[in-house]
Symmetry: C2
Subunit: 338 residues, 2 copies
Amino acid sequence: MGATIKDVAREAGLSVATVSRVLNASANVSDEAAERVNAAIAKLDYSPNYLGRNLRCRRTNVILVIMPTSEHSFYMKIVAGIQKYAQPRGFDIICASSNSTSEIEIRQMNMLFNRTVDGVIMLGTQYDAATLNALAAEYNIALCCEGVNGANVLTVVIDDEAAAFDATGALVKLGHKKIAFVGANDAVSSVQRTNGYKRALGYYGIPIRSEYMYSGSFEYEHGAVALRKFMSLDDPPTAVLCVSDLLAISVINEAHKMDLTVGKDISVMGFDNISMCEMMIPSVSTVEQPCERLGELVVRRLIANITEETERDNAKYTVEHKVILRESTSPPTDKNEQ
Amino acid sequence: MGATIKDVAREAGLSVATVSRVLNASANVSDEAAERVNAAIAKLDYSPNYLGRNLRCRRTNVILVIMPTSEHSFYMKIVAGIQKYAQPRGFDIICASSNSTSEIEIRQMNMLFNRTVDGVIMLGTQYDAATLNALAAEYNIALCCEGVNGANVLTVVIDDEAAAFDATGALVKLGHKKIAFVGANDAVSSVQRTNGYKRALGYYGIPIRSEYMYSGSFEYEHGAVALRKFMSLDDPPTAVLCVSDLLAISVINEAHKMDLTVGKDISVMGFDNISMCEMMIPSVSTVEQPCERLGELVVRRLIANITEETERDNAKYTVEHKVILRESTSPPTDKNEQ
DNA sequence: GTGAAAGCGCTAACAC
DNA sequence: GTGTTAGCGCTTTCAC
C-alpha cells in the first residue's frame, strides 16, 4: 500500500521528474514516456501524496467554510453554492461548524494558520473587526451572509437594512399597521434589519412602539417567548416580522398553541427562505437570500485572492434579496384591526 | 508571514530539534529552553506547518465524513456526534456531500487516497460491496446509518428491520389495521424497513396488501405522490409509515391539501426524528435514530483502526432505536375504520 | 525531452 | 538536555 512517485519512476524506467511532468500535464514529455508512466501508475494503483505536493507547492487548493451551526439548512445552501463554483476550479470545500463559539472557531481557524487550507469563508464569526483586519492582512479570509462593522475584509451579503424595509413594507401594503419585530441581539444582520424595520415604519407614517420590539437571539425558543409577550399586550400586533425563518416557525407554533390561526388571526414573516418555509402549514412568507449567488460570489473572489498575485480584494459586495409572500401572511381581519 | 521552525530556533538560540520537542511536549527539555522557545513562538506568531508535520508523520489526524446530502439535519446530527468524540482525541472532522452521486463520491474519496485524511466515514455510499471490501483492505473506512449487504467493512447502524417492525407495531397497537408503507427503492435501510413492516403485519395477523406499499426514493415529492395513490383506493389506509421524516412531512402536507386532518383522519409516522418533527403542526411521530451514539461509536472504532497497530476492526455494530409517538398518530376514527 | 538534485517544514534517530 | 542530520513525497530549476 502506498506507492510513491519513486516507485512509479522505477516501474516506468524513467525519472521522478518525468513522472511528475506527466502528473501535472506539463509540456515537454514524449507520448511514449507518458504512456509508460500511465501504465506504471495504473499497475501500482498510484495516487500522488498531496502532503508532499502541497508542502512543496505551498498550496492545498482547499477552502474551509466555518458556519455557526450546521443544523440550519440555510447555511448548507450557501455551501452548495460555494461548492458549485469552487469544485470545477480545482478547489475542494470542507466545512466545520463553530456552534457560535469563539473557542471552537479559533480551533477551526488553525487549519488556516497551519496551512491545511488556503482560505476560509465565515458564515458568521465571533471575531471583532480589529482581529479580522489583522487576519486579512496575512491570510485569505472572507465573510458571507453576516458582515462585521468596521472589518475591512472581503464580504458578501444582502442589504439587510433594505431587505427588512421591504419586508415591513410588504406587511404594510397588506394593510397592517401594528407590526411587531423579533430580532436577535448581537448579530450585525439583525441590527441592520431592525434599522430597516424602523425606517419602513417611519416611511409609512406608522409610529414605532417599543413594546412591539423583541430582541433575543437566533435560538428557536425566542420566537415563542416574543409572541407570548406581544399577545399579552392590551393592543397586540396583527403581524410579526422575524429575523429568521426558524424564529418565524417558533412564532407560528406558539400561535397555534394559543389557538390563533396564522395567516388569518395573525400574520408572520421570516427571513432566509429555508426549505421548511414551503413545508410548513401554513407555508411561511419570508425574505429570500440568494444562497447560491452569495456562495458563488464569495468563493469566486476568495479564489481570486488566493491565486492571483494582485492586491487582495477586501471589498464588500451586496446581492439582491427578494420578498416572498405565502400563506402565513394576509391582510388583517376587522376583528384584530379594530 | 509564515515563520518556520527554523526561524523559531534561530530566535530562541536553540536547535530545531529542541523547538520540535517543545511543540510536541516531549520529555527532556529544560524549563529554561521551553521558555525561550515559547517566547520566540509568541514573538514570531509562529504556527507549525501541518503539511510538513503530516508528511513526516504520515498522519493528518483528520477524518472525512461523506454524506449523501448536507441539507438533511439528520446527517448533521450524526456529524455532531462524531465531532464530539473525535475533537477531544485530537482528530479534526471535515464534511463533504456527494449528492448521492458516484462521481462526486469518488472525488471526495480522493482525499483518502492522496493522504489528505486518515479515514472516511460514509453516511450512505454508492460503492458496491466488492469495491468497499477492496478499499477496506487498504484504507480506514466506515459506514454509518446505511450499511451495504456483503460489505465486510466497519459499520454502525440501527437494526432497521426491527425498527420498522416496532413502528408498525405501534400503529397496530393504536388500533390501525390498514397501514400503508412509503419506501425508497434502493437503500439497504429502506429494504430492511420494508421487511420489518411486512413481518409486523404477519406477526399481528394483518394481511399484506401490495396496493398499500409505495416504493419511490427519499426525494420529498414521493410522500405526496404516495398519499394521493393511497387515498384514491376504494379502501384507503388509516395510517402511513414512511422510511424518512421528510417523506412523512410530505405526506402530511399533501393530506392537508386533501382536507384530511393528520392525527385524526389519518395517522402518519416517519423515521429518524429530525428536529422538524417537533416543529410541525401536528408534531410528527417517528422512530428515533440515536444520532450521537451512532456517530460516537463509528468514529471511536475508526480512530482505533487508525491509531492502533492491531488488526483492522471491520465488524458491524448495532445501536438501539426508539419509537416516539406524537400528534401525527392517533387511534383510527370510527368513520375511517368502518 | 529527460534526469539530477535541491528543498518545502517538519520529526525522530542518533550522537554527544 | 541539546544538536546534527536524514528523509517523509513531491515539484522545479538547471544542465544536458
